[in-house]
Structures are given as structure tokens and as C-alpha cells.
């Protein structure tokens, strides 16, 4: 990569402004689909934005809510005369710390004083739609992605292109997408305009100026001015095309650990989540929906609830019944008194055994590739269950319909598409709907587009309570049973080893969709590789679950490669390494985790190690789990982890994501399973869907391998290697090869 990376500029010439966009803004294209726009703030100062696919000239007149009076154009950076920089980020905070990292990338390019940077979440308006997600998934920036051309687009890119307007936080994309390809460009462009302003202000050549710590300085004359002082003048400067970005070696802020802005509010109980919303005169509701997918409300006698304390209404929806009351407790007591009858959607006879059978049949029909004659043939079948996201905050939404308008308060991973869902449910235009996004008490995919049943329900109930607002709160039981579950997936694999113990053939047939095939494909160099989907038998609703397809395929592929290693009589690390000649980054990560974990050294009696290596969401992660068996149960003592995410923008937060991902993965490997009986999910609360807690949380040691490669995601990549590393350790310890999750010893 050159000293100064340049974003691609398809059209160097400035756009001719349309009539609507002449004042106060000007606009430049910097790629076919993206623009840099700049303008003057009403009270003085510079506003500059880089927009994605939806940022077009006629959109510059779209004023987001709350922007009146300060001239905010719905773009990404504001510099005010008091020398504050306000960075607007089209992503939400759900604990992953991405807002901080994205703002750091902006401040780095801008040469801003980090202490003077404020972070704001962009409101849900079209103009903030984060079209960069698409771009981050495409290899247009000279970023080498191994065997990219052989692989389809990853899940989020695929989904993103499928949608007209998105404002998603998911796919571990905020930092590597918006941050890398949007915010850096915005910061760099702002810096150039500030330097140009300084040149005019001091009447010196721009080459003699430096920008540093929110100040432009002319060293020769000793003159300097703050960004704030120059901001208004800067807004009249030429908007740069494809501004050069800083080389890594010049970074001052990126790569240093910075505290997150949202944490102080979270330790004193002040952070406001969806469940904390209070709207004047609001009422409360809770709900029970058809337990079986596709079921409808067949009959209901509301009488038992109507006389109960605080009850205001019983609202019947097509597939659910809700009780409206003066508080959650009264609503839930009254709901429990009802005996709604639901239809079974025609699938009331389905149970987990039947689902397993459907998947096995699908794989039988597709057929696993036939291994060539060789020294050793290995075959295996794996299976993972449905999983609930089980965010700590159950689904909650507040809605108010009044005066032809709808307001919704909810925590969602995509406020724009949430607003669209709400508008449709209310039969209103999107312009008549305001969505106030709240902090998320966990997301993990449950609050992504396509999963907004709780918002639709709140809007339906609000029709009945109008003009009063209603806050719909799901019980834990409702939340556990009405997920968009991680799918039930089966995998069958066949491998062949030659006389020297090398893998020469590998066939992997799995149930799942097209978009899973990247995750299903082993990274290892095997000449004869055959990866196919057998289609997807569905029963429960499914959705993206932290690390999406990689959560199951990490387990399938890394378990199977371990089986082949043992069949070949090879050390599992050596066996993997021998097939990574073409993948030096993967090899380096594997090497690092072996070293970190003391792979090959003696362990105390009764303990063993297992290894796994998974690339997902642009990052490569290897883990070694150290396990024992205590009272017949698997105990994970320590997980060692090496990560190549290119650059760790905010190292302490990068670490937090990996630490958390490992615990998330451990919970699912050891405990999690949603089974189906009589067509409906069985598990209803935490005792049956238990979590790792302090007493069984493994120690976690993480090393970042600094490859200097393009920034990778981190919200998800820590999850996939956990289950196979544990399963492989259990095999090493006990000789039992556990091929189903959750892992249960015979």
C-alpha cells in the first residue's frame, strides 16, 4: 500500500450543484456513490459530511429533527467556534464501544485534540444511512482478502445490498466500515479545509502550516489559531477530492486505549435504555404471542383480566393478546389470568427430533462428496441447536399515536428500518414517524432489521391506547420463546488423508443458505475442496446471532479438521499449520496462540488443551481452551486467544469485545439449546437456558497480532473458535468426540 492511501475517486470533477443544494452547502464526489459535502454553520463554524449511497445533493435540504437553529446538515462533523468538534455516527451503542473507535479514526485524520471531541449518535434520518457497510464488504481498497474471489460476499454485505436504506449496527462493521471508509475521509477533508483557511487567515502558503491538537500553526511566524477560530472561514474553502489519509506510522491517537463516553452513566443507573423510557401519561402493556410459529389467536375471553386491579384494556392482535394496565406488574398478573387459544400454524406436531430428521434428509438428498481412494477417510456429522439471543433487556418498545403522528422509543440496531416498520404498522408515511433510539441492553443480532415484532406490536397496541403512549415490555419468557433464533444447522463432512497424513480431499455439506458458504469453507489449503449448501429446512423464526453463520461453521470446520489431525496421528496445531502456506496471517495467529497457551507443554493431571482457528468479519482469531471434567461436567479453566484484526483502534475496547465474545461462546458451547416440543420452543427462562457466571467464567488471555492489515471487525470474531476449541480439548482429555452443541459428556 502506498505511503498515503487514497480512496478511489471515480469522478474527479466537482459535481455541479443542483438548485436545491447551492447554499449553504457544496458537495464533491469522491467516489461513484459517495460524497463529501461541506457548509457553514448558522452560528459560525464548519459542518462537513461524507455520505454513502443515500447522500445525494437534493438530500442536503433534509433537516434532521433537532437541527433547527444550528444549521446542522445531517452530516458527520461539526466544528463550532468554541473549538468543540461534534462527531455524528450512524451507529448505535450496545456496549461494543464502536462509537468511540469510529470517532477516534476521525480525530486521528483531522489532527483533533481528543479531549475536544464529542460523540453523538446520528438520528434516524435517511441521510445518515450507513451505506459504507456495503463498501467495507467489497474489496475496493487494495485490501487483500485471501481467496476473496472464490467466496461470496459476507452476510452483512449481502443483506446491506439487499436493502434500500439501512442504518445498521451489526456484522462487526461500524469501525471497519463507517470508521475506516467514512470517518477517516471526513476527518482528512476537514483538516485540509482548515489548513486552507489558515493559509488565507495568516496569508502564508498552506505548505508552511501544520495541524495538530485542534490547532493550525505557522511555525515560521509563531502564529496559530484553533480549529474553532478557523472553522467559519474553512467552510468557504474548496472541498477536497479524495483527501490523502495518514500513514499508519503517523498515528498518534489510533492504537491508544481511550475510555468510552457511555460508561460513567452506566455505573450510576443513569443510562437510559428502552425499558426506562417515561412518556407523560403513558400506560403499560405486556403480551403473549402464539407459541408456535405461524399460529393465530383463535379465541379469547377477556373477562378474567378486565376486572383486575389497574387493568385498562385487553388488546387482541392477529397472533397475540396484550393487557394494558397502569403498570407492568398489574398487566402481567392480568395476562396470566387469561387463557388465550392459538392455532398451531399447521406445525404443532414438530419437535426437535423431527427437525433433526428434516436436516438429515436435506443432507442425504444433497449428498456428501465421495472421497478418493486414500490412506485414510474421515467422516463426521455435526449439529447445532436453535439459540435465543437472550439479551439482558427483554424486548421493549414505547409508542404513541396522536395528531396523525407516531412516536416510537426503542432500542434497536437499525433505527431507520425500525422507523419504516413502525410507519407501516401505523399506516403512516415515514415522515410522520419519529423514532427515538435508546441504549440497547444487549443486541447480539436480536435488534437487527427483520426482527422488529416488538415495535409492530407496540404500534398496534398504541392504536388502542391513542392518544396515550403505551410501553410494551416483554416478559423473559416471552423473549426466550419468541426469538429470531440462531438457526438449527447440521453439517456432514468427509475428508481424505494421504499416506503422509496430508489432507487431500475435504467435502462439507451443510444445511443453510448461500450466504453461509464463506463461513463454511475451510481456510486450509486442500486441493480438492467441495463446499455445498443442502438448503435450509425451517421451523422457528431465525435471524443473525452474534457471529452469524460463523458461530456454527467455526464449530463444524474446526472440529472436523481436528478429527483429521488425530486420524493422521498429527499434532492439531502442526496439522493446521501445514495447510496454511498460502495464509501467512492465519499461520501467524495460530503460532501466537500456541506460544501464548504453552501448547505442547505439560498440564496438571486431568486437564487438556484444544485449539481452533476461525476467520470471520475481517478478523482472524485462534483460541486454545484448557478444560477439565469436574463431577461429570466440562469445566473451561482458561481460554487463550490470538487476534489479527489489522489494527486495534482502541485496544482496551478491542480486548473487551474479545473477552466478552469468549464468554458468549462458552455459554453457548456448554449450556445453550432451544428445543422444540409440540411445535413450540421449550426453554422459557434462565434456569433452562443458563449462562456462564463468575463462578465458571474461564480466565481469558488475549494477544493482538499486529499485521497492519485493513481494520477487521471485533464484535463477533471472538465467538466462533470457542466451541470447537473446547470440544477439541474435551476429545484430547476424554477421547469423546462431541459433535453436537451444547457439549454434553456421555
Amino acid at each position: 500500500m502506498s505511503e498515503h492511501e487514497r480512496p478511489p475517486v471515480d469522478e474527479q470533477a466537482a459535481e455541479t450543484p443542483t438548485d436545491e443544494s447551492q447554499e449553504p452547502s457544496r458537495l464533491r464526489k469522491w467516489s461513484r456513490r459517495a460524497f463529501i459535502g461541506a457548509g457553514t454553520l448558522a452560528g459560525g463554524g464548519l459542518v462537513l459530511g461524507v455520505g454513502g449511497v443515500l447522500f445525494s445533493p437534493n438530500r442536503l435540504r433534509v433537516m434532521p429533527d433537532g437541527s433547527e437553529g444550528n444549521g446542522q446538515l445531517g452530516t458527520w462533523i461539526r466544528i463550532t467556534p468554541d473549538n468543540r468538534i461534534n462527531v455524528l455516527i450512524p451507529h448505535c451503542e450496545m456496549g461494543q464501544g464502536a462509537l468511540t473507535g469510529v470517532a477516534m479514526l476521525c480525530a486521528e485524520e483531522m489532527e483533533a485534540d481528543w479531549q475536544l471531541v464529542d460523540i453523538e449518535q446520528a438520528p434516524p434520518e435517511d441521510i445518515y444511512a450507513n451505506g459504507y457497510l456495503v463498501r467495507a464488504g467489497l474489496d475496493e481498497f487494495g485490501v487483500k482478502i485471501p481467496r476473496w474471489l472464490e467466496r461470496p460476499l459476507d452476510y452483512v454485505s449481502y443483506k446491506a445490498m439487499d436493502m434500500a436504506s439501512i442504518q445498521t449496527t451489526g456484522g462487526s462493521m461500524s469501525t471497519r466500515g463507517t470508521g475506516q471508509f467514512g470517518m477517516r475521509v471526513a476527518g482528512a477533508a476537514a483538516k485540509l479545509m482548515l489548513l486552507d483557511a489558515g493559509a488565507e487567515h495568516f496569508a502564508v502558503p498552506v505548505e508552511e502550516l501544520t495541524a495538530r491538537a485542534s490547532r493550525v500553526t505557522h511555525e515560521a511566524s509563531g502564529q496559530s489559531a484553533t480549529f474553532g477560530e478557523l472553522a467559519s472561514l474553512a467552510s468557504t474553502m474548496k472541498v477536497p477530492n479524495g483527501p490523502p489519509l495518514k500513514p499508519r506510522s503517523a498515528y498518534r491517537l489510533v492504537g491508544t486505549s481511550q475510555n468510552r463516553a457511555d460508561i460513567p452513566g452506566k455505573v450510576v443507573g443513569e443510562a437510559q435504555y428502552g425499558i426506562d423510557v417515561v412518556v407523560p401519561d403513558m400506560v403499560y402493556a405486556t403480551i403473549t404471542a402464539a407459541p408456535i410459529p405461524g399460529g393465530r389467536l383463535a379465541s379469547l375471553d377477556p373477562a378474567p383480566a378486565m376486572g383486575m386491579p389497574g387493568v385498562l384494556d385487553v388488546v387482541q392482535l392477529e397472533d397475540a393478546v396484550a393487557v394494558v394496565a397502569d403498570g407492568y406488574w398489574n398487566a402481567s398478573q392480568a395476562l396470566a389470568a387469561l387463557n388465550p387459544q392459538f392455532t398451531d400454524g399447521g406445525v404443532g406436531g414438530v419437535d426437535t427430533g423431527a427437525i433433526r430428521g428434516m436436516h438429515a434428509t436435506a443432507i442425504d438428498d444433497e449428498g456428501v462428496g465421495e472421497a478418493p481412494e486414500s490412506a485414510r477417510i474421515v467422516t463426521a456429522e455435526y449439529c447445532v441447536p436453535y439459540l435465543s439471543h437472550a439479551t439482558m433487556e427483554p424486548m421493549v418498545a414505547t409508542a404513541r399515536i396522536a395528531n396523525g403522528r407516531l412516536e416510537v422509543w426503542a432500542g434497536t440496531q437499525d433505527p431507520l428500518s425500525s422507523r419504516r416498520v413502525a410507519a407501516r404498522a401505523a399506516d403512516l408515511d415515514e415522515e410522520d414517524v419519529t423514532l427515538h433510539n435508546q441504549q440497547l441492553g444487549g443486541g447480539f443480532g436480536r435488534r437487527l432489521p427483520g426482527t422488529y415484532d416488538y415495535i409492530e406490536q407496540a404500534v398496534e397496541i398504541a392504536k388502542a391506547t391513542s392518544p396515550r403512549a403505551v410501553k410494551l415490555v416483554w416478559s423473559r419468557e416471552e423473549d426466550m420463546c419468541h426469538g429470531y433464533f440462531r438457526p438449527f444447522v447440521m453439517s456432514r463432512q468427509a475428508g481424505a488423508l494421504d499416506a503422509e497424513g496430508r489432507a487431500v480431499f475435504w467435502s462439507h455439506v451443510y444445511t443453510g443458505g448461500f450466504s453461509d458458504s464463506m463461513a463454511a469453507r475451510p481456510v486450509y489449503g486442500v486441493d480438492d475442496l467441495d463446499v455445498r449448501s443442502a438448503g435450509m429446512p425451517e421451523h422457528l423464526r431465525t435471524g443473525a446471532w452474534r457471529s452469524v453463520a460463523s458461530s456454527q461453521h467455526g464449530f463444524f470446520v474446526e472440529s472436523f479438521v481436528d478429527e483429521m489431525a488425530h486420524a493422521a496421528g498429527r499434532d492439531p496445531v502442526d496439522f493446521r499449520r501445514s495447510m496454511l502456506d498460502e495464509e501467512p496471517r492465519h499461520a501467524a495467529v495460530l503460532e501466537r496462540v500456541a506460544e501464548l497457551s504453552g501448547w505442547g507443554t505439560a498440564l496438571p493431571e486431568g486437564r487438556a488443551r484444544g485449539v481452533a482457528l476461525v476467520e470471520s468479519f475481517g478478523s482472524i482469531v485462534a483460541q486454545v481452551a484448557e478444560v477439565s471434567v469436574e463431577n461429570g461436567a466440562i469445566r473451561v479453566h482458561h481460554v487463550y486467544c490470538a487476534v489479527d484484526c489489522g489494527i486495534a483502534v482502541n485496544p482496551q475496547q478491542a480486548l473487551a469485545q474479545v473477552q466478552g465474545g469468549i464468554i458468549f461462546g462458552t455459554s453457548s458451547a456448554l449450556f445453550h439449546e432451544i428445543t422444540v416440543q409440540g411445535g413450540a420452543p421449550v426453554q422459557r427462562n434462565f434456569p433452562e437456558y443458563d449462562m456462564v457466571r463468575l463462578n465458571n467464567a474461564p480466565l481469558v488471555s488475549v494477544a493482538f497480532v499486529d499485521s497492519g492489515a485493513s481494520i477487521g471487525g471485533l464484535g463477533e470474531p471472538g465467538v466462533p473458535p470457542v466451541a470447537p476449541a473446547i470440544a477439541n480439548a474435551v476429545y484430547a482429555l476424554t477421547g469423546q468426540r462431541l459433535r453436537d452443541l451444547p457439549l454434553r459428556l456421555a
Binding site: N259, L440, G442, P687, R693
Partner: protein, 156 residues
């Protein structure tokens, strides 16, 4: 009949169903929303508050059972405008992620340390059984160790 108790140092009187869980009385009647609803059956600890200094799961504690007692929520943990040592350590170690469980977690840890200021990891995990779905346990341990280490140092 009104139920009276002290909430974060203030005498509070609520006209509610005596069987209503303390959680909902606090959240919806007094407007203090820092205490969170997680499971409703006392399994996750997101709703942990102190009653006379003892940690209780407020989602399964009838409000009538705290009549005449002292209830402290996350909003009342800081004293005289100063954060509690656990809250300070939580910021220093950047413990919370989504943060939803952390009110309850902090209350549970604060009570455990009140009970045993030199709590080891083992003491801590016996006393604190709360769920954090984001998986912040490692930082919880480190933050608590930083507090107990200070306690050790100051008592030498």
C-alpha cells in the same frame, strides 16, 4: 394501605398492591429506573438492590416485605456526591459493555465487599451469581482485585 420504607435515605410511602415486587414499585412508582428487569424470577440479578445492607433480588421481593426497612438502589450508592469505590473501579477498568446488568452487578459486588473487604476471587464468585450477557467477568474480577488490593495496602 400505604407501604412505607426508606429509599436511598428518603422516607417513601407507596399506595400499591403489597404483593407487587419491589422492582416495579421502585421503577414505576418512584421513577428510579437504574434497577433493571431481567428475568422476573430472581435468576439473573439485574434487579439487585440492598435491603438493610443485604443484597436482594427485587423482582421477587414483595414490596410489603421492605416496610420499615432501608432500601438502597444504584442511584443511592454514591455518598455525598462521591462515587462508591466499586463504581470508581468500574470506570477505571471500563467494565460495562451494554451495561444493562451492571446496576445489579455493582450492587451485588458492593454488598459482597461490605461483607468481606478482602474477598478473594472465590469469595466473590460464591457471593455474586449475577448474569452478564456481554461477558464482562474478567474485568469484574480485575476491578474487584484493585479494590481489595487497596484495602490490603491501607490496612498494613
Amino acid at each position: 394501605m400505604a407501604i412505607e420504607f426508606t429509599l436511598n435515605g428518603t422516607l417513601t410511602s407507596l399506595e400499591v398492591d403489597p404483593a407487587m415486587p419491589l422492582l416495579w414499585a421502585i421503577r414505576e412508582q418512584t421513577g428510579l429506573t437504574g434497577t433493571k428487569f431481567g428475568c422476573g424470577i430472581g435468576a439473573c440479578g439485574a434487579c439487585t438492590v440492598h435491603v438493610d445492607g443485604t443484597p436482594v433480588r427485587s423482582c421477587s421481593t414483595p414490596v410489603e416485605s421492605v416496610a420499615g426497612r432501608e432500601v438502597t438502589t444504584i442511584e443511592g450508592l454514591a455518598q455525598n456526591g462521591e462515587l462508591h469505590p466499586v463504581q470508581r473501579a468500574w470506570i477505571e477498568h471500563q467494565v460495562p459493555q451494554c451495561g444493562y446488568c451492571q446496576s445489579g452487578m455493582i450492587m451485588a459486588v458492593a454488598a459482597a465487599l461490605e461483607q468481606n473487604p478482602r474477598a478473594t476471587d472465590e469469595d466473590l464468585q460464591a457471593a455474586v451469581t449475577n448474569i452478564c450477557r456481554c461477558g464482562t467477568y474478567q474485568r469484574i474480577r480485575e476491578a474487584v482485585q484493585s479494590i481489595t488490593a487497596t484495602t490490603e495496602a491501607s490496612s498494613v
